[in-house]
Symmetry: C2
Subunit: 378 residues, 2 copies
């Protein structure tokens, strides 16, 4: 259930609450990503301490390992990973793309180096994925084994995983796909949306439909109208948008054009501060992205004044916290010079402390925006 | 200051309290090792939650990186690593051995694979260390740069690091050294002990002398008599001992033979459960070892029934905690099947959760032994 508490007068921004079986999500909200049923390097106790309300896990990865059947035997993801607050799972469609066709197009979100390694490893494999009306045949990124996921399978897997919010199965097209192919894929996604709705049995889970259409205005409007008219509990916006700019109409605007106002809207995989702010202006309620955790592990700290490279020698003697005034465990207990030493020494705690800061930073960013919306100041 | 609260009637075991500037250490105690000013993967908050009272850091590593001068600029190790309870630093002697001469003898505690890699990397370097009456010339394991540490330098470095308990500079001989060389090294260690005592200025730090003498009974007795007669605040027993056996006199017995009863005794680098129990019988109060953390990171959990390989497929569907009845964060919140999944997936949290369990296991082991001594049941 979604309740809007306050709407901005100057934009489509709103503050609200999503109620789930495992508690409330106050929106706008950012979901840390726990791809394989763990937010990398962070315990659930630490997530709780930061005030984080929900995490997003990846259906594709968990389907392959440990397997949704295994997770089900543990009583679902909440019990498996010991996270008692809301969990969201994506549909698997994006990973099937990014670890499959996206590789062939070189358009995946995977870092270039990994991409090359993966391409080499898979040399001789003719195609990673084969998309049919039924669904997607693909090879495991782990061992090359063959699998199939269609809308019915995605629903079954997500029911086994047992998240509070799940997504309809979609085809995420490559930004390099042309209008013709993107239209074809979008229409297939629409048919899959209907099949997902029909196949979904667990009514304690909210099911979100996904708007696609690539970077084409007409397709985005069409997808928004089609998916928006269906009986979903909320909506996800998938695919790529280009850069959002203030007061400039964007693919995202067309994507939400016909979505019902009273339902929650999730922007899949977008996590930069600028993009989040612009997306909230356009009526987006929730976000997920690996960026804050990935950056943190690799030595980049998010601050209000921009990113800091914590490995830099200029921090060697710096007695300041990562960010002055930040209330996170890292900033209230450790100095930049220590964190720099940990990165230089290849210590696990380096990535842990910086990830804690980055997730707290995102959480506080969202709390601040929410407060501004509630106070009519956004 | 050290106070013995209770002595065992059937052995030399005792329960006591070491008072330091940063609080109490209840003995027998096990110190987790935080080589580079961090217990790998574990936050100070997590250590506190486990009830851990003290950690041991390595002088050699911190001297090389970030440098004791840098740590001093941060106000010492306690402030640098945000650990407000007691800290112990070793003298650097063991690492000069294990990363130097020990390599040449193939007798270092470094895993064989690392050893080979390190030997190759250093191929062409004629000698890693050169020991003179003044001290030790050695090459950094980080970059091959040349350094010198003698007793006066070790004291200065350890004063800059600012631990509560520090050690006299010693030469730790290889188990492959003969009687003649071991005797020569021991006598040098005795002269260095006198110089360490003389050079040590910070009276807020307890200074421990180190008994050496290899696996030779006569040398151990001689070292014990010599070092035990000096005005140290406590004593460390260094070097190798062979396997301890119940009711069988061992090199460790000769090492403590002449040490004053009313001072604390630390056994350097020993951490197996069996050895700890036998060493406590012989009057040892405190221990440090990387084993619980190293094993935990690499997938081995300590339990009362022996070690568990958490990577094993037999745990895939196991809903039990690592150890039934264990009160640690890991065992009260996560199941073996989940931890196995994390190891299989190469997730940081795998090593973190297993390390937490292992350190808690050691802490509870020591608490149990202490309680038994206090109740006259050890």
């Amino acid at each position: 259930m979604f309740k809007i508490l306050k709407k901005s007068k100057t934009s489509q921004a709103r503050a609200g609450v999503i109620s789930t079986q495992h508690g409330l999500i106050h929106t706008p909200a950012f979901y840390p990503v726990g791809t394989k049923a763990t937010v990398k390097g962070i315990t659930p106790a630490q997530l709780n301490e930061m005030g984080i309300e929900a995490v997003l896990c990846n259906t594709y990865h968990l389907f392959l390992r440990p397997g949704d059947q295994v997770v089900k035997k543990f009583g679902g993801l909440h019990k498996f990973m010991n996270w008692q607050k809301p969990i969201i799972t994506d549909s698997g469609g994006f990973q099937v793309f990014s670890l499959g066709l996206g590789l062939e197009h070189g358009a995946s979100k995977i870092p270039a180096a990994d991409l090359e390694a993966r391409k080499k490893r898979n040399a001789g494999v003719e195609k990673f994925t084969k998309i049919t009306e039924d669904g997607v045949y693909f090879k495991s990124f782990l061992d090359g084994s063959k699998h199939f996921i269609g809308p019915e399978e995605s629903m079954k897997i997500q029911e086994n995983l047992g998240a509070d919010i799940i997504f309809a199965f979609d085809e995420c097209t490559s930004p390099f796909s042309d209008h013709e192919y993107t239209k074809e894929a979008m229409e297939r996604t629409h048919r899959w949306a209907a099949r997902s709705l029909k196949a979904h049995k667990r009514k304690d889970q909210m099911l979100f439909g996904i708007v696609q259409g690539g970077e084409f205005k007409d397709l985005r409007l069409e997808s928004s109208r089609f998916i928006g008219a269906m009986d979903f509990d909320g909506f996800g916006i998938g695919g790529s948008f280009g850069k959002f700019r203030k007061n400039v109409k964007n693919i995202l605007d067309y994507s939400v054009e016909y979505l019902p106002e009273n339902k929650p809207k999730h922007l899949l995989g977008i996590g930069s501060v600028e993009d989040i702010v612009e997306a909230i202006r356009r009526g987006i309620d929730t976000f997920d992205c690996v960026t804050p955790t990935r950056l943190g592990r690799n030595g980049t700290a998010l601050t209000r004044k921009g990113n800091l490279n914590m490995k830099s020698g200029r921090f060697a003697l710096d007695k300041k916290p990562i960010e002055k005034g930040c209330g996170c465990y890292t900033c209230t207990n450790f100095k930049r010079g220590y964190i720099r030493h940990l990165f230089q020494s290849g210590e696990m705690l380096a990535g842990i402390l910086t990830t804690i800061h980055n997730l707290y930073f995102m959480e506080k960013l969202m709390c601040g925006i929410r407060k501004d919306i509630l106070n009519g100041k956004f």
